[in-house]
């Protein structure tokens, strides 16, 4: 093969993936616009983009004019939710991709390994007991979620160092841990009143309800930083996917690398979950669909699953709001309906990369 053909081949290889990523981004943009259409005031989809653009370029309107209300509704009431969906979706999808690579386990995902439940328990402990390290502020809640999300992460690390665990065993451990967490959860919540309980229950299912701009910067910052870090690591993640021995022979400190990455992932998961509740399966569904389309090179899978995960969460959230309009069902349930069957499919299909068993 001449050098020219080789270069052409690589270009084709890249072009295919770039096309997919652009398509996912376009879908994301449309979904973002669409998600701003739901609720009350009728504003067309093109108007939504125009209003956001004008808001960004600094247009200000006089109080109580129709333009003012359009601007207010879109930018203050609807956009935070959309942005949170994008942030949470991309961040959870990246977490899923990375976990699947570093554990060489196609079933890994913040939810199936128990990290989400841990983070959720942490938030509930912080809220219900007023107990947190930096006082009962939002940082305390995030910090507590982070600490509890570390528990499953460390069990995973210990298990992979001490006993020769198969991927299936890891998932079983994760599932058992989430049972345990939900039992502790009940212990804490059992003496609360009906309304608190009902709110907490909704929260363990996960929804993107009631977001304001000032909430967004913690999840936003951690996801941007975390996703950037993971993108920078994508070469090493590719090496990890070949298995521990191979990676070691190529000069990667496998155990420490895995530990550091899991720490970063715990921060990302905790900062998302403490705002949204448990959103399961985004990290499972997005990377798998992306890999079906463009293969498993992490340099492309990570950005593609970011775009795809955000679009997925936006679409499911919009669906969840429309199904029983004007009420809404928590988006976590819709995700479970998609994620459960996909989980089964991954378990029973004959051949996977690496293989589960």
């Amino acid at each position: 093969m001449s050098e020219q053909e080789f270069a052409d081949g690589y270009l084709r290889y890249v072009r295919h993936k770039v096309v997919f990523i652009s398509a996912a981004l376009a879908a994301l943009a449309i979904a973002a616009g669409a998600s701003c259409l739901v609720d009350g005031r009728p504003i067309g989809i093109l108007d939504v983009y125009r209003i956001i653009w004008e808001h960004l370029t600094g247009a200000r309107y006089e109080y109580a004019t129709p333009e003012y209300w359009d601007d207010f509704v879109v930018c203050q009431m609807r956009l935070p939710r959309t942005v949170l969906a994008i942030v949470a979706g991309s961040s959870l999808a990246v977490c899923g991709t990375v976990m699947q690579s570093i554990m060489s386990n196609p079933l890994a995902d913040p939810y199936t390994t128990g990290m989400s439940s841990g983070a959720c328990l942490g938030s509930i402990i912080a809220i219900a007991m007023g107990f947190a390290f930096t006082g009962p502020s939002i940082y305390g809640i995030v910090g507590m979620s982070f600490l509890m999300a570390l528990v499953p992460a460390f069990v995973v690390i210990l298990a992979s160092r001490l006993v020769n665990t198969s991927p299936a065993t890891l998932i079983l451990m994760g599932t058992i841990m989430s049972y345990l967490f939900s039992a502790v959860n009940t212990l804490i919540l059992v003496n609360q009143e009906g309304e608190t309980l009902s709110a907490a229950y909704l929260w363990t299912i996960g929804s993107l309800d009631n977001v304001i701009w000032s909430d967004l910067w913690i999840p936003g910052m951690t996801s941007v930083l975390g996703c950037a870090a993971m993108l920078a690591m994508s070469g090493k993640l590719n090496v990890m996917m070949m298995g521990d021995d191979q990676a070691r022979s190529m000069g990667l400190d496998v155990d420490n690398f895995r530990t550091v990455l899991l720490l970063v992932l715990s921060v990302m998961v905790a900062s998302i979950i403490s705002f949204t509740g448990i959103l399961g399966f985004v990290g499972l569904v997005a990377p798998h669909i992306v890999r079906m389309a463009i293969g498993s090179d992490n340099k492309f899978v990570i950005p593609a699953s970011m775009a795809f995960g955000s679009a997925l969460l936006l679409v499911t959230d919009t669906v969840a709001r429309l199904v029983v309009y004007p009420y809404e069902i928590p988006v976590g349930i819709v995700l479970m309906f998609i994620g459960g069957p996909l989980f089964l499919y991954v378990v029973v299909r004959k051949k996977g990369y690496g293989g589960i068993y």
Binding site: S166, I176, L180, T186, L197, L344, V347
Partner: protein, 327 residues
């Protein structure tokens, strides 16, 4: 074992917020048995509240223990249990479907009958899925459990969806029911739970020797004339009936079925004709103890206690199993 259980059953009404001495408990139970109930307040607490709850715990624990032991043998899987295989989640979806939405899958039934038939039919789904998949390809035991978990995700999503439509004031009850709650029993409920449990246990005891053969491998059981597939299907059906009868009253109680066969096996070995009753008794004793603990700690759902105890044991089993390469 049976003696210990009886003693615990006698002692358990004595525990709880309202003080009653064990001697008094015994006196009240005897007076009921001889036909002249005293009818005062202590009597009400002991006979109508605590004893019914304990009796429910015993029946539930027994049924779960028996189911766990049979499922572990039939699936040849030390991690099998009505909870991990998704049977309980199916049954609880069926029960919720009937309790909250008033939908009966078999038309024309109402009340308990519809709750139970729904629970039974839906509890068959995960087992059927696992059985069908295990014919079409060789499944390892962890894979079966993962399938159960996958089905459970789906069912619990549906269950939560239905629960959201429930009355917010019912939420607390529904929430604790989801985690398994024995709470206050009623004498009227007991026969509906006890009769299916007794019949199914009797049936499983009769086929105990066949199940023993099945544990030594499919090909071996073919050579001695036991059709492994048919036995699996039949015993899964029986187990589902039992679980449906239990779950529709108590909600999903986890891990009793997983743990009690392992404890019983340490004492009586793994012959099913001994293991089934022994595991049932261990399960009954454990759930009774858990129920007492839950009541003493302040009316917790008993599922919380069993999960807190059962999870570490599951972990230990999982790790030991990897070490010994049981699969």
């Amino acid at each position: 074992m049976a003696a210990l259980l009886t003693a615990m059953l006698m002692a358990s009404p004595a525990l709880g917020a309202y003080d009653v001495s064990p001697g008094e408990v015994l006196r009240i139970i005897l007076s009921h048995l001889t036909g002249n109930p005293p009818g005062d307040r202590t009597d009400f607490v002991v006979w109508d509240v605590r004893l019914t709850s304990s009796a429910m715990a015993v029946i539930t624990g027994f049924a779960l223990g028996v189911c766990g032991s049979v499922m572990q043998a039939v699936m040849r899987n030390p991690l099998a249990d009505p909870y991990t295989m998704g049977v309980s989640s199916g049954a609880s979806l069926g029960a919720v479907l009937s309790l909250v939405m008033g939908i009966s899958i078999i038309p024309g039934l109402r009340g308990d009958a519809s709750v139970m038939s729904n629970a039974f039919l839906l509890s068959l789904v995960p087992m059927a899925a696992i059985l069908v998949l295990s014919i079409s390809r060789r499944m390892t035991d962890t894979m079966m459990i993962l399938c159960g978990i996958g089905v459970m995700y789906f069912f619990s999503a549906t269950t939560s969806l239905l629960m959201l439509t429930a009355d917010p004031t019912q939420m607390s009850a529904v929430y604790s029911w989801n985690l398994g709650n024995i709470g206050v029993g009623y004498w009227d409920n007991l026969p509906t739970m006890a009769i299916p449990t007794a019949l199914c246990t009797a049936f499983l005891m009769l086929s105990a020797s066949k199940i023993d053969i099945l544990t030594s491998g499919d090909s071996l059981s073919h050579t001695v004339g036991v059709d492994p597939f048919r036995l699996r299907v039949v015993s899964s059906l029986v187990v589902s009936v039992m679980i449906a009868a239990i779950v529709s009253f108590t909600g999903t109680i986890g891990f009793i079925g997983l743990v009690s066969p392992h404890i019983a096996r340490a004492f009586v070995g793994s012959r099913q004709s001994w293991l089934i009753p022994a595991s049932g008794l261990v399960g009954a004793a454990m759930l009774l103890a858990a129920n007492d603990a839950a009541r003493v700690l302040g009316s917790l759902p008993v599922g919380v206690i069993t999960t807190l105890v059962g999870c570490p044991i599951f972990f230990a089993l999982l790790i030991r199993q990897r070490r010994s390469q049981w699969i």
